[in-house]
Structures are given as C-alpha cells and as structure tokens.
Amino acid sequence: MEAQKSATMTPRTNVASGRRSLGFEKTNLRYTPGQLTALRIPTSRRKPNTRNDIDPEQLAYIANIEWKLSYVTPLYKFRHTQLVLYSKQLSAFIVAEKQKGIAVEVGPEMGFKVVFSVVLGMTETDEDAETVFIKICSKPAFAVEGSAVKVVWSGWFTCVNGNLDYMRSLPSDFVSLPLFCTNGPESITALVKSWFTRMFDCYFGPLSLNSSILQWLGALWTECHPASNIRYLKLAWNLPTLPPLDISYTVHPQDAWNLWSSIRQNDSMEDGISIEEVRRFMKGLESHFFRHFRMHLSAGMLTRICTSLGSAHCDGTIKITGTQYITPVLMLLTECAQLKMPI
C-alpha cells in the first residue's frame, strides 16, 4: 500500500533524459571535498506562507523534536517504490551489526522494527523528491497487544525547493535528498548512515548553521509574528573570553516586529525579503545592545536563535514548533545542505 502510493509521487527527475553529465566516476563522490561554485545562498527569499496541505499526523512526527542536521550527497538508485524492502534490509543490517558485537542501544533483549514511509507534500517544486521518514521502534519481548511502541530513533531525508540547475545536472538514477535530520542515539545514526552509504553510494557530513543562516531564520520567524505570535525572539552569542562568556538577548516580540517592519517598510520588495534587510535588522538589535553594554558582539559568534515557532543552534540542531511555517525553514536548510554538495 505504502509502496503503491509512493510510486505515483516519485519525482520525474529520475527518469528525465538528455541532461548534462558531470563527468566524474560516481565512486569519486565521497572523496570529493564539498566545494561548489555554482550554488550560492540567495540574497532574497519569499515571505513565509502558511502550509496546510501536509498530513498533520505525519507533521507531528517532525514537530517539537530537536533534530541533528547532516547533509547527504545524492542517493544512487534510491527508489521511493522500494521502501518496504529497505525497511527489511536496514533491519537485517542492524541485527547483523549487533551480532558482530557493536553496541547498539536499541534495547538489551528487545526486538525492533524499522519503518520507512513517505511524508507527502513536503515539496515546493515538482522536481523535489518526496520526503522519506525512517522510524525505528523497539518491540518489547513480552509486548501486550495494542501497547504503544516506543520510537527509539527517527530520521528523515528531505529536499524542499532544491536548486533546479543542480538537480537537473545529476545523472539519472540519482535522487537528491540533501538534508538528513536525525533524533536518537548516535550509535544508531552511525549504523543508518553506514547502511545508506553502502546501499546508495552516498556520503554524509555534518551540517552546521553559520550566523548568516541563523539571522535568516530569526528574520523569517519574526516576519510571521502578526499571523502567529512568536512570544519572544531570543538570540545567543558566545564570546571567546577566558572563561567563555555567553550572552543572551531576549527581545519582546512586538518590539522585535516593530523594528523589523520599520526596516521592511523602506523597501519596495513586497513579497520578498532581502539579505540587506536581514542584516539591518540584526545590526539594529546589536547596536541597541552596544549602546547599553559597549560590547562588540561581532567579536563572538551567534550560537542560537529561538522563537516560539522554533529554535536553531549553530552546531546544526533545529527544532520546529510552528509547523505551518515549516517550508521556509526547510527551504533554507535544503540550500545549506546543497552548498555542501561536491561538484
């Protein structure tokens, strides 16, 4: 059933013909350092819109959980129609690794179940591959019929508004799902990654969020304030003093929005946000801080940005609470992940 449904949603990009070859052996992929000249973080973005067409039940798996971010190179011969098979194979792989004596914290004497599924509708363009969600549940040895299963690990691959030029340049048989989010024990994450690496000849790397991305997120969330109260805008910096100094600045939501709209109204771009506006917004907050404390926040690093719609940390973790604004966030993260792609 699952497989049939997803078959219709398999992006056409995979079978399209007549695209330019990149001219490298696919085995070289993992050895190529993440350098890319064609892709850039855009200097303007669309204003965030609310989304209601994603299944709320599936969104619930994603919301309110802190995800660790990784990027992953395109998956070779990944098929959305084969998810049931993948579930069995990954499950067998974990059992085999466990028997080899590698510590896996799925539970001491418990069985477990791997479920692959598709989150429909988490795309922006027709060329985006559908999001794949993986869940590993523990099955107690003496489970009572109907008792709730415990999810010990979950992760998902997604691509929202991926760069079209890049995706079209991929050879056929490659599926680009550049953003990989995980939650659960590191040991299981490592196992899942190693299975994907072997199965689909891909490469995983950590995805950290630089201050420019965090600033974008802060502005995108603040823009949502009139429609959905953000309750607070919290920015945190770390200054490299001895011992290290953490500074957090929590701004009243209405005042943050007033500052943002005063910067916005000068600009003519009606439904877009430019990087210039984002910079001016952050500059405005930093200079208000400087007027009081005469400290240069630019000497440190922006480490965290939070509102009630979500939070993001520079080490590459993100939590999305306001699921109606999930697409702009994922678009941004997809861009970040694609910047890491070797070319």
Binding site: L242, L245, T250, V251, D255, N258, H288
Partner: protein, 344 residues
C-alpha cells in the same frame, strides 16, 4: 535511627568525597576514636556507609545527630545550588547589639509559632557567620530532612543568604528572621550565585578593589623588526585597558559570580530609524550574561578590546552596587544617558 535518618545519612555520605569523609566524621564527635579508626580507609563507600549506620545504631544516634553531620559539611562546603541574597531594612537599635543566644531563641520561637512541624538547627561558624538549617514539614508530614533550607547571616549586618527555599516557606522564614533580628522588613538584594563567599564579599564590600600603581608588563612577543613607537603606543593602550578592567572588577581573583541579568526598558535610539526613534514606548528586552566566572570574563572583554572603554556603568554596577539583577530605564524624557532603575 529510623529510615528517614538512615536515608539522610546515606545521601550525606554519598555527597562527601572520600578524602574529606574521615575529617568530617571526626569533627562531628558522635563516634568514639575506636569507631572512627574502624571506618578509616574502608572501601568502597557503600560498605563504609553500611558500617557507619550500624555504628550509629550502636551509639543510639537519631535524626538530630545525622542532621548535624550534614550541616557540618554544608557549612564547610557551601556549594549546593543557588544562593540568594536578601537585605533586611529599617532596624531598631536592638539589632546592633544582638547576641547569638538571644537571636537563636527568638528565631526558633517565632518560626515554631508560625509553623508546627519544623526542625531548626543553628550554628556559629569560625568566621562569625551564623548558619541556620531548617527542615520543613506540615500538619500531616514530619520535617523533610532531605531538602533542607540553609540560611547564612552575619549578626549586626542586614544581609541574609538563603539556599533551597521554596516560595511556600519564604514568608514564614522572612517573618521569623525579621522579628528575631530586630528589623521591620526584608527585601530582595537582587544578587544570586553559586559561590556564597563571593556574594558576601560583594555585598559587605569585603572584597578589595585594588588600584595598582604599577601594572605587570604585557608579554613581549619576539618581533624581527621592532618598532619602538608602535610598541610604546601599544603598551600604553594595553596598560590603559588593564587599569580600566582592574578598577571595575579588581586586580586579581574577582568574586565568583555566574550570571548577571538586565531588564532593558529603554527607548530605541539608533541613527537612520526614525519610525522607531519617535516612539514613546520602550524597546523591551532581557539581556543575560553567563559564564563560569562572570567578572573574570568581563575583565577579559575589556583587556582584549571586545568591550570598549570607558566601561559602561551598567557592568561596573555589579561590583559597585553588589547586585546582578538590574532594571534599566531612561532617566527622563530628554536625557540620553541610561540609569539604573529603582529597587523593587
């Protein structure tokens, strides 16, 4: 020796490092020399604990005695969670000549008037501070010794330091304290931290701000082409910054604070943003500084140039006013400088 006393003894022994355990038990004075000797170098800790409990049973010790050993350790190592400072106000003359015996009796009597089931212990430490340990109970429960409130107070001063106090018991403790010490009320001193000696030093101005006549020379880097003029200018600048840092936070080892909080209720006033500058409402926000040693980090900020000199009064107020919570408001409608908000 009932189950509650046993639980407290186990918790206390768990908390004390093995190296200090024999010393603490020796000062406790409830065990004989021979008994102490039998416990010495007993490993592992749980075995020692089991033996200690059987010795306590032998000596017929009760909760009263066990609470004492916990208090003894806490006074010597007061690093258990956050300490909050309070200041008593409007003294009568009596407070200046209050004696410990008198304070002890009055405090116990007042608190027991207010709440029935309560266990109070009072002790004077070597440095003249008075330590109070309170285990709270209620009408239906015996005092909970596992979560006691600790109070530290120097007689003849208005300051009180409290740790482990719930909101429920706050009014009871404060009323008993104020009545026993001869004051009329008590207020929040807006100072908290994990290190009680730092809080005390800051509030009682025992911490010396040193104004050095000579600064230690900055480390000279080996430079292939030295330029005396540049070095001279540089050295002057470094010296200036170090002096500014020392004047604000002391020369060596500033008191150990973990955080400072500023509630900003000032207007937004930046160039090129007329629509916000014209508003009467303040630009609200909260700024928190956190570090394992906040004043040391701030000093580093100044000497390294991450903070500009002259230092803002907002930061130097931490040591000058002995507070780490401030509300910042604009002084008047037309005055540009910041002011520290009124106490509340």
């Amino acid at each position: 020796m009932d189950a509650a006393a046993e639980a407290l003894l186990r918790q206390t022994v768990r908390r004390i490092p093995s190296s200090k355990l024999n010393g603490v038990l020796g000062r406790w004075g409830c065990l004989s020399e021979a008994q102490l000797g039998s416990l010495e170098s007993m490993q592992p800790k749980w075995l020692l604990c089991d033996n200690l409990i059987s010795l306590c049973r032998e000596n017929d010790l009760s909760m009263k005695h066990v609470a004492e050993v916990e208090m003894l350790y806490c006074i010597e190592n007061p690093k258990r969670g956050m300490w909050y400072a309070y200041q008593m106000v409007e003294t009568d003359d009596e407070a200046q000549s209050l004696e410990l015996m008198h304070f002890r009796e009055r405090f116990k009597a007042h608190l027991k008037d207010l709440i029935g089931h309560v266990s109070i212990k009072l002790k004077r430490h070597q440095d003249e501070s008075v330590w109070i340990r309170i285990a709270w109970g209620d009408n239906f429960n015996r005092p909970n010794h596992l979560k006691p409130t600790y109070v530290m107070h120097h007689l003849q001063t208005p300051y009180v330091f409290v740790s482990g106090l719930t909101n429920k018991h706050k009014p009871l403790l404060f009323q008993a304290l104020v009545l026993a010490a001869g004051y009329s009320s008590i207020k929040n001193a807006h100072l908290n931290g994990r290190c009680i000696t730092a809080l005390r030093d800051l509030l009682m101005r025992q911490y010396k701000q040193v104004f050095p006549s000579s600064c230690p020379k900055p480390l000279k880097e080996s430079n292939p082409l030295p330029n005396p003029n540049i070095e001279n200018e540089h050295a002057k600048l470094v010296e200036h910054k170090q002096r500014a840092a020392a004047e604000a936070f002391g020369y060596e080892d500033p008191p150990k604070l973990e955080r400072a909080t500023y509630k900003l209720e000032t207007k937004y006033r930046e160039h090129g943003n007329e629509s916000l500058n014209g508003r009467d409402e303040p630009f609200r926000g909260v700024v928190k500084f956190t570090s394992s040693n906040l004043l040391e980090s701030l000093k580093y900020c100044i000497t390294s140039g991450m903070a500009s000199t002259p230092l803002t009064p907002l930061l130097s107020s931490i040591t000058q006013k002995g507070r780490n919570y401030f509300v910042i408001r604009d002084k008047g409608p037309s005055i540009a400088s910041d002011t520290l908000g009124p106490d509340h």
